[in-house]
């Protein structure tokens, strides 16, 4: 691969990630480092996927990432929506995951008790 190709990949993926192309309205990122997995992140992931499937939501993307650092609050989930600050949730059990889908993803109401950080 040549240098220019590297740059092209970067531009393309940046756009995809910025959600402006409308492929996904909202992105759910689940922390899947060892701390997260030990705290149950896999079950949380499954809960998100099943809830999204039940509701037939087609504009929601679920993906994974490494550790954000706050091990005592794992499982950690980040919800990104274009034009809005990123919301970082902590202690996201499968029950909390269902609430996040129902209240935040579908209705736009942040589940404030579980928010641990807001990213600009």
């Amino acid at each position: 691969m040549k240098l220019e190709e590297l740059r092209k990949i970067r531009e393309r993926v940046q756009q995809e990630l910025s959600l402006r192309e409308g492929k996904a309205r909202i992105k759910i990122i689940i922390g899947m480092g060892t701390s997260g997995i030990a705290a149950g992140a896999r079950e949380t992931l499954r809960a998100f996927l099943s809830e999204i499937e039940n509701r037939n939501l087609t504009d929601v993307l679920v993906t994974q990432t490494g550790e954000k650092g706050l091990a005592s609050q794992e499982p950690v989930v980040i919800v990104e929506e274009s034009g809005k600050p990123g919301i970082v949730y902590g202690m996201v059990t499968p029950e909390v995951a269902k609430r996040i889908v129902a209240e935040h993803i579908v209705n736009g109401v942040v589940v404030s008790e579980y928010v641990i950080q807001v990213e600009d």
């Binding site: 691969m1 040549k2 240098l3 590297l6 990949i9 970067r10 993926v13 940046q14 995809e16 990630l17 990122i29 922390g31 480092g33 060892t34 701390s35 997995i37 509701r55 037939n56 939501l57 993906t63 994974q64 990432t65 490494g66 550790e67 954000k68 650092g69 706050l70 091990a71 005592s72 609050q73 950690v76 980040i78 600050p85 919301i87 129902a102 209240e103 579908v106 209705n107 736009g108 109401v109 942040v110 404030s112 928010v115 641990i116 950080q117 807001v118 600009d120």
Partner: protein, 1024 residues
């Protein structure tokens, strides 16, 4: 067919008046028009609230809450939401708090004080997708290096950056790359040390799991720079997820032409192989690691030659830590100068730390060098959970040392940390609190390094085993003073003569433990005591261990489960003759370390105590004076808790002591300091009467002017327990004004019966301890129109018991936190207090946040009285010249015997400890009684029966589930502030019996070392 959507429309009275029925009808019509009536269920309900936002509608299953609906909204709702599944946002109710939370959460210190450079991608990208890495600038540094930079330029930038190795040794990275580049040979290697083995370290794991390409990119750049074509990542097998992510990353990198042959079509070849470690800690040492890669046993060898000259396969090898490599791309992209602009003089850039142990926010953090340790633990870390006291930071794993509270203002910096005797090392920070035993910690680390020793060299192989053996004996109560000397000697020898870093640093936890916590080691060895309540063979139970008087809590709780009130009472009296008093006022040191507290809540020991204590009072349980008398005469000066306890315990030993009290009433601080609503006078008087009847001669109104006087009266030994009753001064202008007094003086007057009516007067109390709470609440009951408390720290830091503060707030007392008086103003009488607000800046030596005045925040509080409650010191008058005192005015005594500078004269209680508590005074009085007995030539042993196991008959299993502790009933606020009626009503007998059954019986089956030694007639010093 089950309907897909449930729609609830409020038809409560208020919504009806907003035309919700008409809305419902129109909605039903629209559904019919769109043929959706089979799928959507519409139900009219009762009031759902909030009424002012009607008509209101909820759509399930999501629970979308629509408000302020109008008929015109119907088509959109049906089209967008019912048909397409997209709720109409503009019509939904948005919780107002959510926006506020969003604002607040932006500023959590955990994230705010960090600076993410290396960890930026962790938590942002999908580590299993190389394209996301590329999207955020991945492999740009590689591209830049290969197209624009020579190897020399790369090294120049690294040297400019002043980056040092992040594995622990801290060698300048630029120099290492330079040496390896300059080494002769065309076959060179790049090795990444990913064998993170220190307990408490997990920073490398997080990087490898969350951003593996950063490490790969760093290695390729390294290869290009030094002229290597092959790399190894040596990763421990205990990191399976990291291994998996690395394997995926390597494969993807090869697929995209960024690794392997002809990278970025420049003709440069470089590939990486993964090698797994097999569970040997020592393989983290570079020469052992290289040995392991070669397929040999991971054992270190001598250096020189260094790996840069002769590494793996005997070829020049660059070996770097994961975090070091992850920093490379940032230095390449932003320049060495940028990196050097972050941090301190000696330590550049950011540093990852793994925060664990007794801290609220455990996890991985990245901070710029220069942030203080206090900020890391208390701001980022969120402080110590459960309100426990910080003890030390264990830094650097088994190679490291302890950072105590006096160093909290130190910036995170290689040199600064080294000055304390610790190292940054693998950057694990384990936070320790009051429940950690430093001797046990030392043993834990040596046990680890001992088992990980490769065995090559004698100092490490044999020496560590010896150290472990000694530490093991110490934790089991078999240590001696010589052992401590030997430990230090051995430790230093092992350090100086071991072959590799493992042996050279393994003694550090022991040596720094001895340096910073010598008292704990001494206590284990001399008094067979473990103050943290960890070394199990040294105590019966954590509660008893923590009690300053050593009351046998588990034994009396066991009696209580059987309804044995008298037996429980007798057990208590063996250590403390003031059960009813302590049941009401003790801060309950016993409840703090209660094991049950780790499961649900600590046992309400104090409340249980009150039941048998009060029962004994009501049933007149008495103690007879001694029959076999000692002929020696003992005098006690001061009838407070220390003096009266000493007197009582002396009677148990066969004496008939004489107590001299200057006031017309006995009790000391219990009588003149603690108000009736906390400790009713008749309760105190009953317990004092019991002590007098046990054989004590009490002389009231009898001040003692000198020790000579007592000597002339024929006393053979004296115990001085005059307490600390002189109020400390604030030393500000206006303190001499009328109306400004010591809180303790105010309380004394009230408690001695002086009539005081504060009706219509405003009272301000300065201070945050029990005395301040007592003074404030007493003033309130004397009808003061306004009572406020001014305290220079925050509520969490108040020394007063939490319950007292809560009750004071309930009673309507106003609190000014983080406020300090600077002047009292008025003509002859105080009229107002000039105050300034405080803010926290750094920490003081004891580890508490240091309050400093905030500029420009001066304000005034109008008042008629000021009560200063800033602590007390002893008033020694006649004795002052004869006895040696400490700087704070307390009497100097021998720690073991409580003897003062004069032979035969002993002292205890607040006069020695400074303002303390009733139970501490009791403990000292009891100890002094034994000490005096020994001084007079006797054994110094109470004739109490040997400790026996109390058999209980209740079903213990029933109590092994979550059961909250019983809380006492309090008198209602409106009633209690009108008089001095007792506030705390206690718990019921039945509740106390039940509460006792929650005890986990930590003392079960134990024979404590000190008892064993007593059986063997070995005398242990009283100390501790």
């Amino acid at each position: 067919m089950r309907k897909r959507l449930d729609v609830l429309i409020c038809t409560g009275a208020n919504c009806l008046s907003s035309r919700s029925l008409e809305f419902k009808k129109k909605l039903e019509e629209e559904l019919e028009r769109r043929q959706l009536q089979e799928e959507v269920n519409i139900v009219g309900t009762g009031c759902m609230g909030p009424c002012q936002l009607g008509p209101v509608m909820i759509v399930y299953p999501e629970g979308s809450f629509y408000v302020k609906l109008k008929d015109e909204d119907i088509p959109q709702i049906v089209e967008e939401h019912f048909l397409k599944g997209r709720p109409v946002k503009r019509l939904l109710w948005t919780a107002p708090e959510a926006a506020k939370i969003v604002e607040e959460k932006k500023k959590i210190p955990f994230f705010e004080k960090q600076e993410k450079v290396v960890l930026k991608n962790c938590g942002r990208i999908d580590p299993e997708n190389i394209e996301e890495y590329i999207a955020y600038g991945g492999y740009e540094a590689l591209a830049k290096v290969m197209s624009e930079m020579t190897p020399e330029k790369v090294i120049e930038e690294l040297i400019k950056s002043k980056l040092v190795g992040r594995g622990g040794a801290g060698f300048p990275t630029g120099l290492k790359w330079k040496f390896t580049r300059e080494a002769k040979g065309d076959e060179k290697y790049v090795v990444c040390n990913a064998d993170e083995g220190d307990p408490g370290a997990f920073k490398d794991r997080a990087i490898l799991e969350g951003d593996p390409h950063a490490v790969i990119e760093g290695m390729i750049i390294a290869g290009y720079t030094i002229g290597a074509h092959n790399g190894y990542i040596y990763i421990r097998a205990e990191y399976p997820l990291a291994i998996k992510r690395l394997e995926i990353a390597l494969e993807q990198a090869r697929k995209y032409g960024l690794l392997g042959k002809n990278i970025l079509e420049t003709g440069f070849n470089f590939d990486i192989e993964l090698r797994m470690g097999a569970g040997a800690f020592v393989a983290g040492e570079e020469t052992a690691l290289l040995s392991s890669i070669e397929g040999k046993r991971g054992m270190p060898r001598f250096k020189p030659p260094y790996p840069a000259q002769k590494g793996v396969w005997g070829k020049p090898t660059l070996i770097n830590n994961v975090e070091t490599l992850a920093n490379i791309r940032h230095i390449i992209l932003n320049g060495g100068e940028w990196f050097a602009s972050i941090g301190t003089e000696n330590s550049k850039g950011t540093k990852l730390f793994a925060l664990s142990g007794k801290v609220n926010n455990t996890g991985l953090i990245e901070v710029p060098f220069g942030l203080t340790l206090g900020e890391v633990i208390f701001d980022i870390g969120g402080g110590i959970p459960k309100g426990k006291k910080f003890k030390a930071i264990q830094m650097g794993g088994p190679s490291g040392g302890y950072i105590t509270s006096e160093f909290l203002n130190l910036p995170v910096d290689y040199k600064e940390i080294e000055k304390t005797g610790s190292i940054i090392g693998s950057a694990g920070m384990i936070v320790l609190d009051e429940d950690n035993c430093m001797v046990n910690m030392a043993k834990f680390f040596v046990e680890f390094t001992m088992s990980e020793s490769c065995g090559q060299c004698t100092p490490c192989r044999v020496g560590l085993k010896q150290m472990y053996g000694i530490l093991d004996r110490i934790t089991n109560g078999q240590g001696t003073l010589d052992d401590l000397t030997l430990l230090e000697k051995l430790g230093k020898q092992i350090k100086s003569s071991s072959m590799c870093g493992l042996g050279q640093t393994a003694p550090n936890p022991v040596l720094t433990g001895l340096k910073y916590f010598p008292e704990e080691f001494l206590e284990h060895v001399l008094y067979k005591k473990c103050r943290a309540g960890v070394c199990a063979s040294l105590f019966y139970a954590p509660c008893t261990n923590a009690c300053p008087a050593g009351v046998d809590v588990p034994r009396y709780l066991a009696h209580m489960t059987e309804g044995g009130l008298k037996e429980a009472f007798l057990v208590h009296m063996e250590n403390n003759p003031f059960p009813s008093v302590c049941a009401r006022v003790c801060p309950a040191f016993c409840e703090r370390p209660c094991e049950r507290g780790k499961f649900d809540e600590p046992i309400a020991i104090r409340e249980v105590k009150r039941l048998f204590a009060d029962w004994a009072m009501e049933n007149d349980v008495e103690f007879n004076p001694p029959l076999e008398l000692r002929k020696e005469k003992v005098a006690i000066v001061g009838a407070g808790p220390a003096g009266l306890s000493c007197a009582y315990f002396l009677t148990r030993l066969g004496y008939r002591p004489v107590v001299f009290e200057s006031l017309p009433v006995p009790g000391g601080m219990m009588r003149v300091g603690i108000p009736d609503y906390r400790l009713p006078k008749d309760v105190l008087n009953e317990e004092i009467a019991r002590i007098v009847e046990s054989g004590v001669e009490l002389r009231l109104n009898s001040p003692v002017s000198s020790l000579q006087e007592l000597k002339e009266m024929g006393f053979d030994a004296v115990f001085i327990s005059v307490g600390a009753h002189r109020s400390e001064k604030l030393n500000v202008k206006g303190e001499e004004l009328e109306g400004v007094t010591g809180g303790i003086d105010f309380l004394r007057e009230v408690n001695l019966g002086k009539k005081m009516d504060l009706k219509g007067k405003r009272v301000a109390v300065v201070g945050g301890g029990s005395t301040a709470m007592d003074a404030a609440r007493t003033a309130l009951r004397l009808k003061a129109s306004e009572v406020s408390v001014i305290y220079r720290r925050s509520r969490e830091e108040m020394p007063a018991q939490a319950a007292e503060v809560e009750e004071a707030i309930e009673e309507g007392i106003k609190f000014y936190f983080l406020t300090n008086p600077v002047e009292f103003a008025g003509s002859t009488r105080v009229e107002k207090i000039k105050c300034v607000q405080m803010e926290f800046q750094g920490f003081d030596k004891s580890g508490r946040r240091r309050p400093v005045p905030k500029e420009g925040t001066e304000f005034e509080i109008e008042t008629d009285f000021v009560l200063l409650c800033l602590g007390q010191r002893p008033e020694l008058s006649g004795f002052a010249e004869e006895l040696e005192t400490n700087k704070d005015g307390t009497i100097k005594v021998d720690k073991d015997t409580l003897e003062t500078s004069l032979t035969g004269v002993f002292a205890g209680g607040d006069a020695v400890l400074g303002p303390a508590t009733v139970v501490e005074a009791v403990g000292q009085g009891r100890k002094a009684a034994l000490s005096i007995d020994r001084y007079l030539g006797y054994e110094g042993k109470f004739p109490f029966p040997r400790r026996e196991v109390v058999e209980t008959s209740f079903n213990e299993e029933e109590y092994l589930k979550v059961i909250p502790r019983k809380t006492p009933a309090l008198e209602m606020v409106e009633e209690r502030i009108k008089s001095f009626i007792e506030v705390n009503k206690g718990i019921l007998l039945q509740e106390a019996l039940e509460e006792s059954k929650r005890c986990l019986k930590c003392d079960r089956g134990k024979e404590v070392v000190s008892e064993k030694l007593e059986k063997e007639k070995v005398r242990i010093p009283l100390g501790g």
